[in-house]
């Protein structure tokens, strides 16, 4: 169980707190802070709920419901930030925390050389937003979830899996934000994730291979698991991928067959290949090589001791640095329906939006919060503030960052038909990137050889190594909008103490030419 979370009964997952109660608490905090000398105060009253169902083969290993509730108060006093949080939801305790935050801000101000400069944001009055879900996962009976997962496990085992682990994770963030700018924002955010891993073992050789599910976490309700065939994509070799609806059982059966196939697949010959990357794979590459390097706090040096800095320094924006080829357009977007990063308003009360990061291959922008906007010469925040708990201080987090579809009509089959010597990669694998986001190495879930426009055989032991600008400048074709799908990271870590956030990355299938592929097979003798 995560620190700060307490276990609760399933029926408590669907309870909510009255808005009027939250508004009274927020007003008490803001009043106490301003009386104590704060020039700005924001209050986040959060109720964070999670449900996990974990299984392997025919066993339910755990069903856990957790809740964490409390109030986080952030102030500016004497030009410096201060923060305090409490899980005591009485007006007195909240007011005391507001005064403590103000005291901390004043103490921090003594050694601060430049006062905090907040970009203006409109007073919104009382507004609300909810993830547009059709079926609230928290309201679905545990038995239905257990039946789904055990059914998936049985199907995989029946199709030849040696082992199968499957899980279901549901998240609901009930967040109330208020600030002295005059905004009172109530949001109800939902996320869902249904991963599995199938293992195939050859006892005689001792070889084992795994195949993870090709699902992705989504900002959706339980309807994601409906298995609507309209959202399926079938590759020229019959591999099925999924968009906004997932058929977990069908994928598990395919996984069992493919995991066994991997035991005898040809080991890749190292060299330069043209890579055709499925959205379920490319999302992670976008995340690591575009999403993270364009976080403004990294660029400025605030993450130097942990996550690192960034090669994409501010001068590169001025020079319109050629980040990728001219067909590469990447946008930041906090509004895309079904995405993990979609909210109506960020955690400092800024209405969310979409904006370009890379235009026609050129670096044009970063991701900023209210206190960073002025550094970029902007007059408004990008709405990138997020805290993973009421008890965590909000800071700049990555929005959804997505590759825009190609403008020329192109299907996956069209793309593969044009490749002479390539590898088609689907699904997430091993990933590693340096602290300035130059040198990266990615594996995958499924690999297929492409020879003279045809998929010829499955491959194994594949990883590609890249240098970010060269990789994106090697992008030679992007399928059109019919193939646009999302991949997501359910737990993206950043900061000290570390905080977790969830973010999606959309793209169509995309081609990169002449990428260095290594063989990862080793022998232990």
């Amino acid at each position: 169980m995560l620190p700060g979370f307490r276990a609760i009964a399933a029926e408590q997952l669907v309870e909510t707190v009255e808005i009027a109660v939250k508004k009274r608490l927020a007003d008490a905090a803001m009043s106490a802070a301003t009386t104590a000398g704060a020039s700005y105060c924001d209050v986040r009253i959060g109720r964070y709920m999670r449900q996990f169902v974990v299984t392997r083969e025919a066993n339910v290993q755990g069903v856990t419901n957790t809740e964490s509730s409390g109030v986080g108060i952030r102030v500016i006093a004497d030009g410096a930030w201060g923060f305090a949080a409490t899980n005591d939801m009485s007006a007195e305790a909240v007011a005391a925390s507001a005064r403590l935050a103000t005291d901390i801000a004043k103490a921090n101000a003594r050694n601060q050389t430049t006062p905090v400069q907040l970009a203006p944001t409109p007073s919104l009055g009382e507004v609300s937003w909810r993830t547009p879900i059709r079926r609230n996962g928290m309201e679905v009976e545990i038995q239905e979830k257990v039946d789904l997962l055990l059914g998936v496990n049985a199907a995989a085992t029946g199709a030849g899996a040696s082992f199968v682990n499957s899980s279901l994770f549901l998240v609901n963030e009930q967040k109330y934000f208020a600030s002295t700018d005059g905004s009172y924002i109530d949001q109800d955010v939902h996320r869902i994730f249904a991963p599995f891993t199938v293992t195939a073992i050859d006892r005689s050789t001792g070889k084992f291979r795994t195949r993870d599910g090709l699902s992705t976490p989504m900002g959706m309700g339980y309807e994601y698991l409906d298995g609507d065939a309209a959202h399926k994509s079938t590759a020229p070799n019959g591999v099925v991928s999924y968009g906004k609806s997932y058929d977990m059982r069908e994928d598990a059966i395919a996984a069992a067959v493919q995991a066994r196939e991997k035991l005898t697949a040809t080991s890749v010959r190292p060299g330069q290949y043209d890579l055709v990357l499925d959205p379920n794979h490319l999302g992670l590459t976008i995340h690591e090589s575009v999403g993270h390097p364009l976080e403004l706090d990294r660029v400025l040096g605030y993450e130097a001791n942990f996550a690192g800095t960034s090669f994409a320094t501010l001068d590169k924006r001025e020079q319109r640095f050629q980040y990728g080829s001219e067909i590469v357009n990447l946008i930041a977007d906090k509004t895309e329906v079904g995405s993990l990063g979609a909210v109506g308003y960020d955690d400092e009360g800024v209405q969310t939006k979409a904006w370009p990061l890379i235009e026609n291959g050129k670096l044009v922008d970063y991701q900023a919060t209210r206190d960073q906007a002025h550094i970029l010469g902007k007059t408004e925040s990008d709405g990138c503030s997020y805290a993973d708990s009421w008890s965590s201080v909000q800071f700049q987090r990555m929005p959804n960052v997505s590759l825009q579809p190609g403008k020329v009509p192109m299907s996956v089959a069209d793309m593969i038909a044009g490749v002479d010597n390539g590898i088609y990669i689907l699904g997430r694998g091993s990933f590693s990137i340096d602290q300035q986001r130059y040198n990266a190495q990615f594996g995958g879930t499924l690999f297929y050889e492409i020879k003279n426009g045809q998929i010829t055989q499955p491959l194994e032991d594949v990883a590609y190594q890249m240098r970010t600008p060269e990789f994106w400048n090697a992008c030679s074709a992007i399928c059109d909008e019919r193939d646009y799908r999302s991949w997501g990271s359910f737990n993206d870590g950043k900061g000290q103490p570390s905080q977790s956030s969830a973010v999606s990355h959309g793209s169509p299938t995309t081609r990169f030419d002449g990428i260095n592929v290594i063989n990862t097979a080793r022998s232990l003798g």
Partner: protein, 441 residues
């Protein structure tokens, strides 16, 4: 109330166990005070203290288990949390791998608590940040760092009459120092139980020297090189491998410790005979609680002896199924070594590469524990016992299993504490595999 005395904790736990009508009940109290200060760009960026105490109640009716947690300790709250756990258990599916609560145990205490660390003040944290920042400012260097300190207690009781209580404390400090032009970067990390042993001013000097010395790094062709991994650099790979000593994974055929044809590699020579890995809750440098999460007593347990697999970690369920005796799951990892420091090893190296730190390590192939990652914050070429010039960072693709068959010499272990608490020696290794260069500084 975050830190309770043994009597305070026992009073609450006894009430909880008495309140339960389930077949079995285990109650666990834990409390902690975590302090931190973070700095970047030569300024303090955040600082805070988080206090938390919670009670977790596990109950079982047959093989149906329920868990509930609360952070209030009134009699009414205790009754509520027990009822909630029991309600959840009655609704839960049966767990075929359910194991009953442990019997009454005798624990030999370990020295996990140091008063000086627990007594740290906000002023001390600020002083540590200033001691890191000021010398950097004076030399036109830029410091970013993070100090965490922790004190905690754990107490538990169950319906078999078992009880345990112990306090713990520790601190971790890391600091990255960069040159103003961004061309040099150095790092230092210190994990200690007793903050009295910590000297930020002397430690930051290590990072400052490495930052200044790493400017104008030269590129060396990727390939196989003799390397000296400092303890922090080696720990990243060895701790990763330590996650795969589970007996069940090995017996099921999905581990590097599985044998072709079935079974595991206990007794097999897997590493160089100089490799000895063990855990010991009473080790004076890395003491940990004398019990594991299930309340089983920890023992000194060898995992690798003279390069042979001596033991694997058996869960209570898997031990029962395999006819083995379950031991407490290890809480630390200790690798034996020699007496030489990193500097001694450098002095005795004709040609090689010194690696300060490894970064972003991920599993590439669990079959061979092939890991990839990068060097960071101080990589240097060694010639005739001297650091000759700084090197551009490398990406490596290397298995710690292969690496620990290519040992030239092991130095004196030091405490490394990010994540798992470990004692790891600096080590000189032959044929370490770098596969590409990184432009990152």
């Amino acid at each position: 109330m975050s830190i309770m005395t043994q009597d305070e904790a026992k009073t609450i736990l006894d009430k909880v166990v008495a309140l339960s009508t389930a077949d079995q009940c285990t109650a666990r109290l834990q409390g902690s005070i975590d302090g931190n200060i973070r700095f970047a760009l030569n300024n303090v960026s955040t600082s805070g203290v988080v206090s938390d105490t919670s009670l977790a109640v596990d109950v079982a009716f047959g093989k149906r288990v329920g868990t509930a947690t609360i952070n209030e300790f009134s009699d009414a709250a205790l009754a509520r949390v027990v009822k909630r756990a029991e309600d959840l258990a009655k609704l839960a599916p049966e767990n075929p791998e359910f194991m009953p609560a442990v019997d009454k145990q005798t624990y030999r205490p370990s020295n996990t608590f140091v008063e000086a660390t627990a007594a740290i003040t906000p002023a001390q944290r600020a002083a540590i940040a200033q001691a890191s920042i000021e010398p950097c400012k004076a030399q036109n260097l830029i410091a970013a760092g993070f100090l965490t300190d922790n004190q905690s207690f754990v107490a538990f009781a169950n319906s078999n009459g078992n009880f345990g209580y112990q306090r713990a404390s520790d601190m971790n400090y890391t600091c990255t120092v960069r040159t103003a032009d961004g061309q040099g970067s150095g790092w230092v990390g210190r994990s200690l139980q007793d903050i009295s042993d910590f000297n930020a001013a002397s430690d930051v000097n290590i990072a400052m020297r490495k930052a200044a010395a790493s400017v104008e790094a030269q590129a060396l062709e990727p390939g196989k090189y003799t390397v000296i991994l400092e303890p922090a650099a080696a720990a990243g790979l060895i701790s990763f491998m330590g996650n795969f000593f589970g007996a069940r994974q090995a017996d099921e055929g999905r581990s590097f410790l599985s044998k072709a044809g079935g079974g595991n590699k206990i007794g097999d020579q897997v590493y160089d005979p100089r490799v000895n890995l063990y855990s010991d809750p009473w080790d004076p440098d890395v003491p940990v609680l004398p019990w594991d999460g299930d309340g089983l007593p920890r023992e000194r347990m060898a995992l690798v002896e003279n390069g042979r697999i001596a033991n694997l970690n058996y869960s209570r369920f898997w031990a029962q199924k395999q006819g083995k005796t379950a031991m407490g799951q290890p809480g630390n990892l200790i690798m034996s070594g020699g007496t030489k420091s990193t500097s001694d090893l450098v002095r005795e190296t004709e040609r090689g590469i010194l690696v300060t730190r490894t970064w972003y390590i991920r599993m590439v192939d669990p079959q061979t524990v092939l890991l990839t990652g990068l060097t960071r914050d101080g990589t240097f070429y060694i010639e005739n016992g001297q650091l000759k010039y700084p090197l551009k960072n490398f990406r490596f693709n290397e298995s710690p299993v292969i690496m620990l068959n290519n040992i030239d010499e092991l130095g004196r272990p030091v405490r490394v504490g990010e994540g798992l608490t470990m004692m790891i020696p600096p080590m000189r290794l032959r044929d370490f595999t770098f596969t590409s260069l990184s432009d990152a500084v």
